[in-house]
Symmetry: D2
């Protein structure tokens, strides 16, 4: 597309927050300054766009945010943005500020919003993959995923201390929505006895069999990682089922929960977010609209949002194979 | 009591594990070596004493354990030790190794076992307060409590990132059994909106009122800390009740769970455990039996076990007052 | 002293920053609000007082600061405050804002400033011990000391991984100015082979002898903790000397440096700072002037500043004895 | 090459240790068991091979090592292995144990040893890139690099607390030998004012100019990252030079040092090490000898060792560009 003249860019975060969002905002804003653009923060996502919660950002706004979890622009759900009237209002607010283009950081729902908005009003926009779930195509890793994996293994390391001290069986539930990425990484990274993920059904009998074999081999601790979105149920349900087969086992359940969403971003996520924040602004200046900027094989790639959000990304078969070899 | 001649000391950990137990074992063993004693590890608590899971320890056994969570001597429940026959068997195993005295590290149940054993067989023993719950008298702080508080606030710091990004209300449940020590410390330390602990009933209406006032003051995040043993129910139940009063709030619940028991011990717990490990061995050599060694005002104090386990320790009223002032 | 009417309190941090200063500021400000006072932030310590860098604080200013290292009020050295003219200017600025009293958070230099200011102008002031060095009397622990000890042992835990993998001898220098508190805690907490602190001279020959004995006992790693202010020199110098005696040893030096000053405060420091922040405001309202608020045996104690800064606090002999037993 | 029959594999770590080495050892050993091989640990690298410090490993040896920094097989320098006699002795020891093949984990020196050994004695061997420096070709990332970057940014985050509180200029020296990978990642990840790396000369005047501009823009903290192997000197030297130009600046230097080598490996390094450990054993079984297994674009790639150790890997120009945009 022929690049439009862009002088003012609005940045927003939407959907569940993820570590590195602040680093991405900062990078986009700083890149904007580098190209002599005016940069605006749209607070509380699409809701703030509708309610005109929009402020011009200067370098003070983005000082000391890179290293912080969450998003200083805040995030919120917006039911109103799902209506044509809501989006109209949002569009008018953008116009009143003279905002020419958008950088939208979030998961598939957030990018869908950007896509729709572009279709309706022609506002150039680039999405950035900001979610701990890693469930977006068009990028090897989403912003926040690496940090969430680190948070998960650090928590599981602590649980293992207790599991080992008591010869216990722990079921630990990790996040990831319908994708098993955090589960597979955390599972391999914490020497899990088994990993249950949405992409792959494991009959309860197989799991029980595996645990029995390990018990005979006198493995002193057993940690089973369960992804939250699995069809076999959450960690609590699966633990209940296993309990029936192995009544003598000392079984505990821990659901890691929201602490996986927060925390200072990892080095990897800071770098990823920084590169993508710059890529978002440079992409807009080059006329790349309605796309998501991602990093594939360490190169910036712009993928049409419509393609990025069709979630055909699932855990690599090779990773399963490795997990199986290592947990035998 | 006239000190008996002690040449061989057995060390065991029992009950729920806590960070710093390894540091305490190491200190006791190293103090034993200093006084030219033979030191034995009794594995898996009283159960291992009955099953003769007892090994002589040398300095290699205690290398690189100080900094690790859990207990390398392992811990286990023993129903058999609750019977006179079980204790008889345990006693005979000790005698067969020539073990003259015991150091028992654990919570009230573990110390009760040591007390009973001393009454029945006259085996000199000293208990050390090893529990994250801080619910033992005779010491300002139990081994593991400080680490558990740090683990809790680090997790809550992460949750706050998310709470703030979304203007959410989080109910976070921390451990502590029937005592609110972790809750009050984590609550003050994480700027909680409210702290619900077993020692103090807070009517749900008061809590709702407090949250409403904060909402008006536009506090951007609200974290309510709930101690696990509270009469008003766990974090899930309380969240349900509050939800009825505040249906528009975006409410989430996280139960920190067992990760609070693990992890590398804090500097405070390493020091406490090191001092008490030495105090246990020196106390035995001085004829102090059937007591718990604790640290009060940074001095070693030996309290009769019977007195230490009568749990009259509860959260300081002054700490409440501070919490109230700070959360207004 | 008969309490004066106090309506406006200024808070400042001065000297080297320490983790927990923000928590102390927040607690003081929040306590001020609780007692319906106006609270002012004096930025950049005494320098800002002279330059009238003073702003009224509201609850937004102290949101999300409790958990952050450093001091949002900033700190600076002021040579001008050491002159009568400088202090006069500072006093006039306070008067122009109507500030009736001061809370000064910092080390001995900072408290000396407060004392002098009180003597000259009669401005009621309370000092809080904010320093990682723990070198102030009138409190068991200074704000930031516990966090610095945790930072030190976490760093040493990492160094030990490498020391053990290579059978190396490491000299690790920790902070503490003229006091060995961080060194002794970090030394006991990291199973150090030896601890060199300013309070206690250890001839180089003794150290060498100790290392040789350990070498014979096949201890796989040797970490020697050196306090920065020791008379025998820093870690680098001592390592050089030891090298001459033990030329075959693989010796490395790490100076932990300023990272010990930063980081999120520990649970202990958050609690200590919160209690002392409240105590500062309540003390002022009760007419306690020219004193430092500290926590002794977990009770708030107000000590005349003149007495608190006379540094007769040194590492407990008992701690040495423990360190010696544990490193044999 | 036609695969030889391999039944017994020896694993060793050599050179500087890096976080994830234990995870790589574990993965190789576990993969060996999966393929019904006997696995041997060669302790203390090539030195242990010469001194016959070789033990058969069972599953107990590799329990609870994945999450630990360093290498439980230990590492050592061997001057003797550099002589034909030394290598002959090493070869004979391998033969006496019936060891058919080697997995060598380490940096370029270690891999060079494996290459030479293969040339001389035809012992099939596969190298794994174990170094924090990321200076090996044939893999996107070396084992330990990601963890070292995380350790660096966590330390710098703490230093920033202090830098910001005092408006200070900090020079922080990070590791990386002759490569600037840690420096560029840590620099982008910590919002550094400037990054000095061996691959790129920055005249001192440019640096001073940059710092002056930032000073005018009232940036409250300035952190300059210096890679250890830079031609302009270490952090201390550069700080001295800058001091001459900017005498009024409050300048501090911190050399992060060996703590960057230790610590629990990150999720990324655990996964990388696990995959490569399996790839080493599977590669040997498939007849891939004298190669290094690496991960490029998330696929296992076997590169001739001779090619992998020719260090033509240097920091990506694009990363510089990003760093420049973000630090303006």
């Amino acid at each position: 597309m022929e690049p439009k003249t862009i002088k003012k860019i609005g940045v927003l975060t939407s959907g569940g927050d993820s570590p590195g969002m602040n680093a991405a905002i900062r990078a986009a804003v700083r890149a904007g300054f580098y190209y002599n653009l005016e940069m605006f923060g749209i607070y509380r996502g699409y809701e703030g766009m509708i309610q005109d919660d929009i402020k011009r950002l200067d370098s003070k706004n983005i000082a000391h945010v890179l290293e912080r979890g969450g998003t200083f622009l805040k995030s919120a759900r917006s039911t109103e943005f799902k209506t044509p009237e809501g989006r109209k209002k949002a569009y008018e607010n953008l116009k009143s500020h003279g905002i020419d283009a958008l950088v939208v950081i979030g998961g598939d729902g957030s990018l869908t919003g950007a896509h729709l908005f572009f279709q309706e009003f022609g506002i150039p926009s680039i999405g950035l993959p900001g979610t701990i779930d890693n469930d977006l195509s068009g990028t090897d890793s989403t912003i926040g995923f690496d940090t969430a994996c680190n948070t998960a293994i650090e928590a599981i390391d602590k649980i293992r201390d207790t599991a080992t001290s008591h010869d216990r069986l722990f079921f630990v539930e990790v996040m990831g929505r319908d994708a098993g990425f955090i589960a597979i990484n955390a599972g391999i990274g914490s020497a899990a006895a088994a990993i249950l993920i949405p992409e792959k059904k494991m009959p309860i009998e197989h799991l029980v069999e595996k645990l029995k074999i390990r018990s005979k081999a006198k493995k002193s601790s057993n940690i089973v990682i369960v992804a939250e979105g699995g069809k076999s149920g959450g960690a609590g349900e699966i633990a209940e089922k296993v309990k029936k087969f192995l009544p003598s086992y000392d079984i505990k359940v821990t659901i890691l929960g929201h602490l996986q969403r927060g925390g200072a971003p990892s080095s990897f996520d800071r770098l990823l977010a920084s590169k993508l924040g710059v890529a978002a602004v440079e992409g807009l200046l080059q006329g790349k609209y309605d796309v998501m900027a991602g990093l594939i094989n360490n190169k910036v790639v712009y993928t049409p949002i419509k393609k990025a959000i069709v979630d055909d990304k699932s855990v690599d078969e090779e990773d399963f194979r490795i997990a199986k070899i290592l947990s035998t």
